[in-house]
Symmetry: D2
Subunit: 286 residues, 4 copies
């Protein structure tokens, strides 16, 4: 997307006649050229989801007024809607344990301008990734998890996230399970990378499970973290062919590449407001 | 797509404000629910292309009147537009030489309802595929190419195609190069499958070329036939990994699968009016 | 593989020093040029598996005598070994229910020489595929499954398989679960195609399960049928990307292509004696 | 591969009877268990290539004596052979211009132990990547290319490479064409990454060429640099699907990921002595 600012309007409601026409006319009537639009209707549930991107250059409403002006239309159709601007940079917190591959990849993409986010901090239960935080000059919050003190540690994490008004949390191989309380309280989406092709190999040590089962392909899955472990809405998946010569160590090594680019694609789609969740699923407008 | 009939409106013009809103309103104002819509703007050329699918069930215009009613809008924006109906079955001619794999695949897909077309005839310069024409009960036109008589043979082909008012010709491994005169005269799109990842290995014996070069991946390309051999707009491509153990025969064998499903996907997208050509490129609204 | 005959020696034992050297010397000493060889050691279990292909043209032992001459070596290393000849055509029975896509694909590949097998019959619990049996001129055994009479039907199937001395059974979307008794009695490998990326979506209606879960990729798995449903050793898997626009019908349609070529590759590897089973896994020497 | 040391014997000669048996026996007779072996015969050219990995733990010859002891066998068969040890770390120089993605990826893989090499220096014609050299604590040689002074710059590069006895040079998006003189003099293999699916889009700006042609898939190719630009033996290739929405900037961005992991796989295969070159092709024993 080019550097001139765009508005991104996300809409969800029950399907009904005239939505596309009505929303397109609203934007057009105020001078907004629609540069990208996509919508989807789930024929079984009747859910309608839409994403419209419009040029702000000659738009006749101030940014503050757009949503209010749109409210009556949203009301008619029973829509929930959100409005984003392409030049506002979400604040993305990274959580990591010992493995650095996803972390470094995301830091690098952000540094070279592929991910238009600010990264206020890296949070870890271990000290290993301090090395990378230093090199990328990002603050590192080391909150160890000690026996019986996990709730306290989660409180530390939540306090930091809230203080920095984080918009999205990315678990870049953070090896702790977040409590229901954490997910209820965090107040923003949490993206996780699971190192299997979900729903295959849910839970611990998926590469070991894959090796035992003798599959010919391994996978990785980026999903929103929800209270049901590994059951959250899937954002992105990909796979890689393996063979009988591959040991568990080979699966772990090859899997790192998979995890890295699956998570990167999911994060990019999320921060560009291309991912809409409904029920247990996602729609990706890419 | 379900069995109830839809209108499919394809539009092309120079990009300008308000197109989406205007067209969506047109359809909505006559009672047509938009069930699918997609558009694309080429930022370099300024080309705008759009596909809108709308429910005909309660549409207030007869099929005959839609296009005329739309004409004033098309004129305002300088659009070229075409209108199709999901329940009209295009007439698709298949051309083949000796290799039957693409032919049988397309016949089978049509038979099981994956391709909503009629197949008035198979045309071949060889007799081998008569076997399959008989089994699928499709008329077989055997027009051999004899030395110095190719123009006459092309006339035979054209005569049959015109007589049956064919809407699209698919060269399912037809190993003759069609003359410019043929392409000028045929009067409908011609889809070809080339057995390489174009633009690599243009021309004859691409698997031999691939083998000589030592590539690690082979490909196939479905494209519209134009006067520049192997230079027509690409509809679909796919690839397959190969290794040093693969002989040329192995490439030919593995390539058959590639050719088969690349051509099938291209044909399906074409007949569902998902392929829009502009310049030397295509837009695929899938 | 070219038309001149080869011997294919498959060997399995516990890993120990000198196996490759000893077997290679045996073949060489009798004038057998090794044209292909591959082996694998599972470092965890200590299993050693090897496949050696050798030229029979100047081999000094008759085919009948090779295995007996090899027996002392096999004994020293505690090997189980089997010997095959590239010019002997396995007898492959096809079992099918109503869906014809895998069936027609395998028949076509056999007809064009890609699968060097004889197909003595097609067995089905339905009559639909008689159409294809007639066209490919393969005998069709229609054994319906009637309520409470499944054991009798399986006896009919077994009787036919045994009478024709079938070497391998391929369930080309045969929608009945084979009983333990059947699998115990059949006396040859049974290959099944499951329409999911196992172990995800075991059991019935995997495309429906995939749709419900919102996965971004669907798969298919060819495996040997064992008494644990969908738990047999995996021979081949592949996947295909899907999106939110795909309905269950689309998954079924796209999945047909996946099922078709995953099963075809598994069958080809099996009949070329490239698949060695050990424990719950396979080694594929391709 | 585990940490215990292995010998890796690479062999090339014209195909003839008894090679596998003779070499396997040689290794076995001195107490070397063959843990991995692979070979390939090119049926057209008659080239025979083999890789045998054997356990050094109980091998009865010292490392220094192995090659000399093998010499008589090599002579009989007219072999060229090389011997490597799994615990010797090749010295790999990295050359880079302004783009850092391949560089950082290789540095990271080396740091986490995926690439068992030493990296004595990074060489660049620009200063941008000094940033990363500092962070990874690798010496950075900045040799700018000034008009008319390219031969002098190449001499600087050669001098550094020779002084550090470099075993392999990796052009990690080094945007200068190396002269024939350089390639003749460098004395070790040079691996390059080209940002297209060769032989498509040879030369400059392949992503622009791909965009103009309207391909549906982009690729990257790692190959040995030879005097014929972009014509060297291909080590690894991979591809990625693109669509009409992708601008040239998108191709460049997506292509970075392709380039990164294609080059990483090629480098890993090279340093593990899995790549054998013959003619204009490679054999990859993986």
């Amino acid at each position: 997307m080019s550097t001139k600012p765009f508005g991104i309007l996300l809409v969800r409601c029950q399907d009904q006649k005239g939505i596309v026409a009505r929303v397109a006319s609203f934007l057009h009537d105020f001078g907004g050229n629609i540069v990208d639009s996509d919508h989807h209707t789930d024929r079984e549930t009747g859910d309608f989801l839409m994403r419209m991107v419009f040029d702000l250059a000659h738009f006749q409403l101030s940014r503050e007024d757009i949503h209010a002006s749109f409210a009556p239309i949203a009301k008619i159709f029973g829509m929930t809607s959100t409005l984003h601007f392409s030049d506002s940079r979400p604040r993305m917190a990274l959580m990591v344990s010992k493995y650095e591959h996803c972390l470094v990849d995301l830091l690098q993409r952000q540094r070279r301008g592929e991910l238009a986010v600010d990264i206020p901090m890296i949070i870890s239960n271990h000290s290993e990734c301090q090395f990378w935080a230093d090199r990328f000059e990002v603050p590192y919050c080391h909150f160890p998890v000690t026996p019986g003190k996990k709730p306290e540690q989660e409180q530390q994490v939540l306090e930091v996230l809230h203080r920095h008004q984080v918009d999205v949390v990315v678990m870049a191989r953070y090896m702790q399970i977040l409590s229901n309380n954490f997910l209820d309280t965090v107040g923003c989406p949490v993206i996780n990378i699971h190192h299997s092709f979900l729903p295959a190999f849910i839970g611990a040590k998926p590469y070991h499970q894959a090796y035992e089962r003798g599959v010919k392909i391994i996978g990785a899955t980026a999903h929103y973290a929800t209270q049901d472990l590994d059951e959250g809405p899937i954002i992105e998946q990909d796979v890689m062919r393996i063979g009988h010569r591959d040991t568990i160590d080979d699966l772990v090594r090859k899997g790192r590449d998979l995890e890295t680019f699956v998570l990167a694609r999911a994060v990019r789609n999320h921060i560009e407001h291309r991912v809409l969740v409904y029920g247990k699923k996602t729609v990706i407008f890419d």
